[in-house]
Subunit: 354 residues, 2 copies
Amino acid sequence: MVKDHPIHPVILCGGSGTRLWPVSRKTLPKPFLPLIGDTTLFEQAIGRISGDASDGGFAAPIVVAGPQYGSVIERQLDGKEHRLIVEPAAKNTAPAIALAAACLDPDDIMLVCPSDHHIADETAFRNAALSAAHLAAQDYLVSFGITPESPETGYGYLRRGEELPGGHKIARFVEKPDFARAQTYLESGEYSWNGGIFAFRAGQLIDELTAHRPEMAEAVLASVRQGRSEGSRFYPSAEVFAGIQGDSIDYAVMENTARAAMVPADMGWSDIGNWAALQDALTAAPVGSDCDTNVRKGSVDLIDCSHVLASTDGPRISAVGVADICIVVSGGEVLVTTRDGAQLVGKLPGAAEQ
Amino acid sequence: MVKDHPIHPVILCGGSGTRLWPVSRKTLPKPFLPLIGDTTLFEQAIGRISGDASDGGFAAPIVVAGPQYGSVIERQLDGKEHRLIVEPAAKNTAPAIALAAACLDPDDIMLVCPSDHHIADETAFRNAALSAAHLAAQDYLVSFGITPESPETGYGYLRRGEELPGGHKIARFVEKPDFARAQTYLESGEYSWNGGIFAFRAGQLIDELTAHRPEMAEAVLASVRQGRSEGSRFYPSAEVFAGIQGDSIDYAVMENTARAAMVPADMGWSDIGNWAALQDALTAAPVGSDCDTNVRKGSVDLIDCSHVLASTDGPRISAVGVADICIVVSGGEVLVTTRDGAQLVGKLPGAAEQ
């Protein structure tokens, strides 16, 4: 990567984050909240791929998001140069990524990043991004392979294959395994988590999508051709886009291509997928974590508590004797969940209603 | 007991109930709250000793309480005939009971009841009250001996001695034993909980207090002599009363007299001493308990929860995966406690501040 061939960051703002209810709400979902530290996950995602030209490497970001988030995104970008592609409808990651690819030159290298993940080690992230960009320039479709820390059953796994410079071919994709298999994967040392971070050459991504999802590719290209710009915003044609059958980039492209690769990334990654995951990230981070095992945000009094996350936007939380529990008070709602229960928070009536 | 010798109920309103914070507050403490069902514990205490003359037995109650509770007491008595003795200062149970005794005729039989306990079986209560009154008429100082249901370490225990008609002499008083000893007591079948409910002949109580706490007895009698009536309220002299060194009726009289007796009382008793105790009483009662093991009050959504008490005065409580926990939202405070932790709720800053 040289300065006249920078990496083009593509920041996806798709997730609703209902499992982080009641803090994450439809009106202001997870990416736009300061869940870790004083800046939002989106601001941190932008920060990771920013830097002046002497840092080498990153072009102004392309943000892909629904129209309802346009103003919060522009506010949080705070004048930073960017392009905003306004998704006419939520169609999962493949069309969103393809929209960005279609707006780039075919030889541009794009780095696709979710806007709602946490990455503790920015240097490791940048190094992995460089390795991924190199492989993408050789027409590999590259996924970040996160070094797994536990037998998580909520993630996809990538099995490493043949070695490549700075990475590996992907020998196999496994969708959310059961616990026993996840344990085997962890012990084997051959598997990584699929972190949802990708590097592609834009033209290659379009070619592969055309090969494996020709209708989707055609609709995306047409909606870009018929789209219109408005300042830094680009509006693809809603009419064509509406007909797309949504799919993830993994299903649509990665699991079908012969050129799937991965770069290892050991960078303190978390998808902050639920309150327990946020608790872990906050416990690991210096911000907000006390010298004991509890994490407090707002007015919180604890007696004989351990591994408690207590977060409130106003009313005081008082707790006695509890362990391994998240207590969240926000917007007039009170949530109490175990770490296991955190997976089901999105199924609560409150999370569904809002 | 015949109609011209009724039992004189004495209802003590002394406890602050800080362990039931944030619902119980200094301004409106535990006795005056509808914790079980739609009526307050005080109203239930009054109801238990009410009934027309044909029911036989109970004179209009004497209520002993601090001046700050006069109006709530009169409101909750709702026009019922009563006398209210306004305690000039909180001096524990011995002076409070002696005040009532000094306002009665020496031959009156008094039945002393806390205002903040729960009794599920009213018939059993009345039967025990009759037995206790018979023994009190024979100058025994009679405690209700509650059939113990578990090795509680928070209660005093009474050991049964020599049999009496309808009861026993008390062979021994034990203050809050440790768990191992409580277990032994439970298994022996010889011990009862000291429920804080007593029957005395008024004159006998004064005589015994004079024998064992002469200064306290003298001060109480003087403060009654120098007191003044105002409608149904009686104000003992504050000046004399202020000098009293407070003590419990157990320490001051029961543990010193040779005539301590007990009547067995298996009546679904609870002192509702903390949130776990309230949870137990609500789980046992038909009111407020669902067909599962959880108790809900107000807007509550639970997923995969068991043995949870969730009570809110407004904001919705949502909980996932938790067990054996009390979640209480009241007056802008949020409390989460385990059953063991419930003992320590009074030590929380919030409970201490109010």
